[in-house]
Symmetry: D2
Subunit: 306 residues, 4 copies
């Protein structure tokens, strides 16, 4: 065809001349090559990406988003990204560069992540976790791009309930008076226990980084016990004992996790926002129990957590 | 228009003259009015419905399926159905009647179902279960419609593991020798426990019926313990004690459920097939544990289960 | 037992003396009786409810939440609630009243909702929608409870793409020059079309109300076409024509929806925040396309939307 | 401890001495290294694995299953498997070897799979598909293990409806009589179109193999059009035209797919069972439309499909 195709996206909106906060693609699955110290990991990520849209423009030319994403995915094959979050940052910056009318670009990604873990050195196998990353690029007054980044992970572990443990103890002591014997001090009592999923996110507005394996370590340390794919019979008893000697409400999981952050992440600046959320899939109910909290590293340090 | 619309479905297939086993609609949500002894229940059901299709016909005129379903849904408003399964049977029969070319019609439905239950008479509230029903109508040689029907339910309860309980006991006895004292005989030991979902289906090729509330009773009796929405603190200890005094592998859940059927359902004929499946969402692993079995009521009776 | 049970929740936290933003239950399924002009509707709702927790308290006594919910669910059987949102408000107020230490209580509910709709008066049947409601009660300085409420709905309809329609037209005009004939002006051209899910929420900080059926009307009017369970063959052609004569980007869906609100909801105060989000499950891609916007009724009125 | 731990699994069942058809683990996520002609692919697979259980044995020692799986996963790191299906076969054989009491072992796996595809050679990017594999090992009378294997894939593409196209044409011809002009013969008419997911499985009881990329090719050729991540504006029009010139009912997708198999897979033996299922997420309805069929390669060849 001799003439250019009509650009429907660049036309004026038919009705409702509103600047729109977010227009984009969601649920895109892509393989991203990520460099790890000892190898290249390919993460199958679910990616959402969007920009804002001025009031005088009908559409956002979303095919451009798919192209940018494909280019950066392809680039990681030759030169792996440093992390899921750095891949998000590259995409966000490129979105802003190529959507000249946009003032903000947002990219969110989540990807399953396998780590070799085990209850002992001869019981190692792959455990699966979830990585999450976000990047938001926005145009500042001098037209340079600013970048906000979030890095986080989610881990499934186990909680045992401290309250049911106490009421079970009272009922059992009434039935077995010998339980009051000091020689049984420290005997763990039955309780309900269950899968617990806990997520921790760090929001950076400036420089800085956290290592996702350390985020996963922090989460697992805050649950009653981590869980493992391979447990020989004796190991099962060990995990059960560990969890019952470390009973936790969802409230405890969040507080213990938050309290551990200043000690575990001394290099993360005070301005960084930390967000934690936890869900216990209660074995004695058909519903879940949840807790969440958001604060800053500075606030945690000032409250005396070290 | 003066002329009839072209009936694309009745045309010959373009290619691939195969008789097709199943063509239909799936994932249709509809409210079905069901008569209960004391009230009318409206079940929000997910319904799939299909017929077979002869080799010489391009399409199955699926809009007819949607119409039949809507008619029967509307009919239950004025005259509630006896059960989810009887609604499926009506739909299957009507599908066969109105798809003259079909030899078989299949209808599957599942619906959430609330029952008032509680750990005691003053702790009653709604617990949610899942009902499942299927009906398959097929044309016999004399053109009369035959009907096969399935009735079942799924309940979430709790299992405590007998194996981890044993290994925890051995470890604790090594640490607390006093546990061997006969005065502590019967003391329940810690183990892992978790949500368990168990399903039971009855397949009828002839007359007969089962009451879904009794199916749910049978399932809950086969788990380590049912679970409840309302548990005051003392109650939590009670459920935990009940479950740990009744530890169950998924294998035990299926066997105990199957073994209970002849006693609980004496009127169900020998020819009826029973299918059971159970899943425990293990608290000490990130994966699930499953067991399933299929047999007949006659087989269960002959193996001496009463 | 003669002595009171130990209240583990009221104890001091073991570690991490943080005030927690949110502790609660999630994923509870309950049947809520709602009064409609002509009947009582039972909505099967998924409910989340939470309160905040002071730094000096270990746990939130979550069994109280389950009790409050059960009481209010039971109360609606005798006296149906006015709406999903009013049930949420009652629960939120009661949570705040009975968790003396809490400063804020949040309740979220979503429920499937059936409406009789059809392409014509003789094709009516049930279409399914999703209702959403939230209530947040918080203690003001004079200890009176303040209430923020959100009311909304989600509807599945259809979008046809205006851009692919234009490029298809250009290709077809090159192949069929007769398409340029003025007698074919207004002939709808082929495009990709797909399921679109659109949600609209109203956030009230004071008095006021909106009717969910009118929210659903507003959403369906902003899509290329609503969709229907029952469509006879001629009707299918009609819906296809309607959608292709009304092609919409996700951007258009949001803008047209927002633009329609001042006219459709004249009684909603200027301070009310409106949030809209839309997802098209693109038929020509494996991923989705999304748009969203948040503004106030006042802002919409000031931009000249009436 | 000096004494052996009690083996609870090997004990007799408490009740219900039934041989159980299936006891196992489900929903295990593992990374499997698969050898491709030009590279090693790591597939993140969801794996279920189970054995049967004799009547005199309480439990199935499921920790053994997790160990076997971990061993084979680790082995693929050093020596990648030939395919998802060959990994399943190795696991099934090993399950049978190490559960001496079992007569049958079943392994099912599904994994996302990325292929570089595009509407043209300069628009290539990763498209995501789903691989499925099953292996069933069973002990024959001479104690040698027999193996049944299934290999398949699922692809998302697009269907355009031939029936709505016809009724739209009739309506449009009434409005635009010029459409009857012979110069417009072959002009594609508007219809509804939507995402279609189609699955094809081959069940082998003996030797033989199929290449998953060829399964995906066969599926995409049977849909109205494949779909692509990257489509520039002109490309969108092209996909829309391709789909509307190739309109398909779900019935057509299954028949065309089945009809193509003898020609596409000449080396697959007559005894191999082929199973196909397709779902169109109809844009004009809130529900889906489905079709499925099962037959043998021999039957397809005898019906004259070549």
């Amino acid at each position: 065809m001799g003439h250019a195709m009509k650009d429907v996206h660049a036309m004026a909106p038919t009705r409702g001349h509103l600047q729109l906060r977010s227009v984009g693609l969601s649920g895109i699955r892509k393989p991203l090559s990520i460099r790890r110290p000892d190898r290249v990991n390919v993460l199958a990520a679910t990616i959402d990406l969007a920009v804002d849209l001025p009031a005088d423009r009908k559409g956002s030319d979303l095919s451009r988003n798919a192209e940018i994403l494909a280019e950066i995915v392809d680039r990681t094959i030759l030169q792996p990204a440093d992390s899921l979050e750095s891949a998000c940052s590259s995409i966000a910056r490129e979105l802003l560069a190529r959507h000249a009318y946009a003032t903000e670009a947002t990219v969110k990604a989540e990807a399953e992540y396998f780590l070799r873990r085990g209850i002992s050195s001869d019981r190692q196998s792959f455990e699966d976790y979830l990585l999450r990353a976000e990047a938001r690029a926005f145009r500042s007054d001098d037209q340079s791009a600013q970048l906000h980044r979030s890095i986080g992970a989610e881990a499934v572990g186990m909680t045992a309930c401290p309250c049911a443990m106490e009421t079970a103890r009272e009922k059992l002591e009434a039935e077995f008076p010998l339980l009051a014997d000091p020689r049984l001090k420290g005997l763990p009592m039955i309780s309900h226990n269950q899968r617990n999923r806990t997520r921790l996110m760090f929001d950076f507005t400036g420089e800085g980084d956290v290592e996702v394996d350390e985020i996963i370590d922090a989460i697992e340390a805050a649950q009653s016990s981590p869980t493992f794919a391979i447990l020989k019979r004796g190991d099962e008893g060990q995990v059960v004992m560990d969890a019952h000697r470390n009973p936790k409400f969802v409230e405890d999981v969040i507080r213990d996790l938050m309290a551990s952050l200043p000690g575990r992440f001394p290099h993360v600046p005070d301005t960084v926002v930390v967000r934690a959320a936890t869900v216990s899939e209660e074995s004695i109910h058909k519903y879940n129990v949840e807790a969440s909290h958001t604060t800053t590293m500075g606030e945690l340090r000032r409250s005396g957590h070290t």
